[in-house]
């Protein structure tokens, strides 16, 4: 009986969390006239029509761009972070402490500070209006380096590295055969976070990408609002199409996601 009492507030807030998504999905299945004529509570049968409308406008390309950007960013960023983390935790070299502190310091600086410089840099390298700026920005990920340095330093035993070296394993071999397998859980966590961050990134694509064919999902959502000013069914369908698959993916892998999201907070 007491448990049921406990459940009430939780269920209430969960409903509030989920309700807006329900509204969007219902909007997606109705025509604009139906949306305006009353409250839409039950699913309608206009979903395919709405989808057709947004597909004419090539909204699906945003998906492709977002997938390319997020997957490449994640892979590159995790690899570079792991390599840097390996160097900073297991090698001794001049100025090591300085580099580590410098990377830590850049972690504290909000991203907008570098943005104007970054945009100009991309222009100078003739990379503006491509997808490259959206990927390159993750190559120097201070949080990733910090995270991997901590993890590799704590979990990869020096003895294993030493014995591999004695057995004639090269330095890169040590990285691929010993460090990478040891740090799999940390890499999975980091990959989850970077994927989420690059997928949701809005401000940077807004100032570096002008070409409609290169729009990522957040830009695509925004463009949809301006294209279908009066067609609310289509706008709802676009939102649902952009948001729901990711949410389903999240629900399927929620265990890993939650582990990733809490990793930084509870430890630090």
């Amino acid at each position: 009986m007491k448990k049921v009492l406990y459940l009430i507030p939780i269920v209430l807030f969960t409903l509030i969390s989920v309700l807006p998504f329900y509204v969007i999905i219902m909007m997606a299945t109705h025509s604009t006239a139906e949306i305006f004529s009353g409250l839409v509570i039950k699913p309608g049968n206009y979903f395919l029509e709405n989808m057709k409308t947004i597909f004419i406008n090539k909204f699906q390309y945003c998906y492709l761009n977002s997938v390319i950007v997020s997957v490449v960013s994640t892979v590159v960023s995790v690899l570079i972070s792991a390599l840097t983390g390996f160097a900073l935790s297991k090698y001794r070299f001049k100025l090591k402490k300085f580099f580590f502190l410098f990377i830590l310091a850049t972690m504290m600086i909000p991203g907008q500070i570098g943005m104007i410089g970054y945009v100009m840099e991309m222009k100078a390298m003739a990379l503006s209006n491509t997808l490259m700026p959206l990927i390159l920005v993750w190559c120097s990920n201070a949080f990733g380096v910090f995270f991997m340095t901590q993890f590799i330093g704590e979990t990869v035993p020096d003895e294993v590295i030493e014995s591999a070296r004695l057995d004639g394993c090269g330095e890169f071999g040590i990285f691929t055969r010993i460090v990478l397998p040891f740090s799999k859980p940390a890499m999975a966590t980091l990959a989850t976070l970077i994927f989420l961050w690059s997928w949701n990134n809005f401000l940077l694509p807004l100032v570096t990408v002008y070409n409609k064919e290169l729009y990522t999902i957040p830009l695509g959502i925004q463009a949809l609002q301006n294209t279908y000013v009066v067609d609310f069914g289509a706008r709802g369908a676009g939102l649902a199409f952009a948001v729901v698959p990711i949410l389903i993916l999240f629900c399927l892998g929620s265990k890993n996601f939650i582990k990733g999201l809490t990793a930084g907070a509870v430890k630090g």
Partner: protein, 262 residues
């Protein structure tokens, strides 16, 4: 780009002394934070304690409550503009249907109300995150400690105030500091909230009604890339923002560590 001229610290002097919008945007974001941080911390903690006691449904509710946090912020701004729109928004229609109000309220057109909507939006988006972090923190409290307290005859509120809260202090500190840093960088949600409304004609008011919801990053974006292309002033704004963030983070760290010494 036009010819360059060295102007020293003129841009910085401008934003800190006679630029009304810079301080206004800092004030707006600070207001948002005052509005949501204390409340979301209390509620997140309470919900986490409640959910901690029903381990059977922990994962399910944790996942469902995190959905807003995972969602693209751009989409959240638009979803909220659908709900709070003046003429066709869901909320107004519901309120009218149940005869709570005779006419629709212009939620997004009046400064104070628009601010409340933004606060609600941040609250809605982040509650699941706070819940999740606190849940993880609760799992970290050794069970023997609670058991020993029960053996010694401590009541439930006593356990909460003397064991749970002190144990969670570092987590609360983390949440407050990251909320301040993240809160000052708010942009996506308010930017979309005032551009995608149902009655919108594609025109967007920078900063919402009366610029009541102009955040610093929005002002930065608008100055450097959107309405004007004043890159110099934009850079000054971003550095000014950094300084403000730094001051506030150090300030909140001081408050918390000061408490610990007592």
């Amino acid at each position: 780009m036009a010819e360059r001229k060295f102007i020293g610290f003129a841009n910085y002097i401008n934003i800190f002394t006679n630029n009304p919008f810079f301080w206004r945007s800092i004030w707006n974001t600070a207001l948002f934070m005052i509005g949501y941080i204390p409340l979301i911390i209390i509620l997140g903690l309470l919900l986490a304690v409640v959910l901690f006691n029903i381990p059977q449904c922990k994962r399910l509710f944790q996942t469902l409550n995190l959905l807003p946090y995972i969602t693209t912020p751009v989409a959240i701004g638009i979803i909220f503009s659908f709900i709070f729109d003046w003429s066709n928004g869901l909320l107004n229609r519901l309120l009218i249907a149940f005869h709570v109000i005779p006419d629709g309220v212009n939620w997004l057109g009046i400064g104070t109300l628009a601010r409340i909507v933004v606060i609600l939006l941040i609250f809605w988006r982040n509650l699941g995150y706070y819940l999740m972090i606190y849940l993880a923190g609760l799992t970290g409290i050794p069970a023997e400690l609670n058991e020993a307290a029960i053996v010694d005859g401590a009541s439930k509120p006593q356990i909460f105030f003397h064991i749970t809260l002190p144990f969670l202090r570092p987590i609360t500190l983390f949440l407050v500091v990251t909320s301040i840093i993240g809160g000052f960088q708010l942009f996506d949600e308010p930017y979309l909230l005032f551009s995608g409304g149902m009655a919108s004609n594609g025109l967007q008011i920078v900063g919402g009604p009366d610029r009541a919801c102009l955040t610093t990053v929005w002002y930065f974006f608008d100055t450097a890339f959107h309405s004007t292309t004043k890159l110099g002033l934009g850079s000054a704004i971003s550095y000014g923002l950094f300084m403000v963030i730094l001051v506030f983070s150090i300030f909140s760290l001081k408050i918390f560590t000061g408490k610990e010494e007592r």
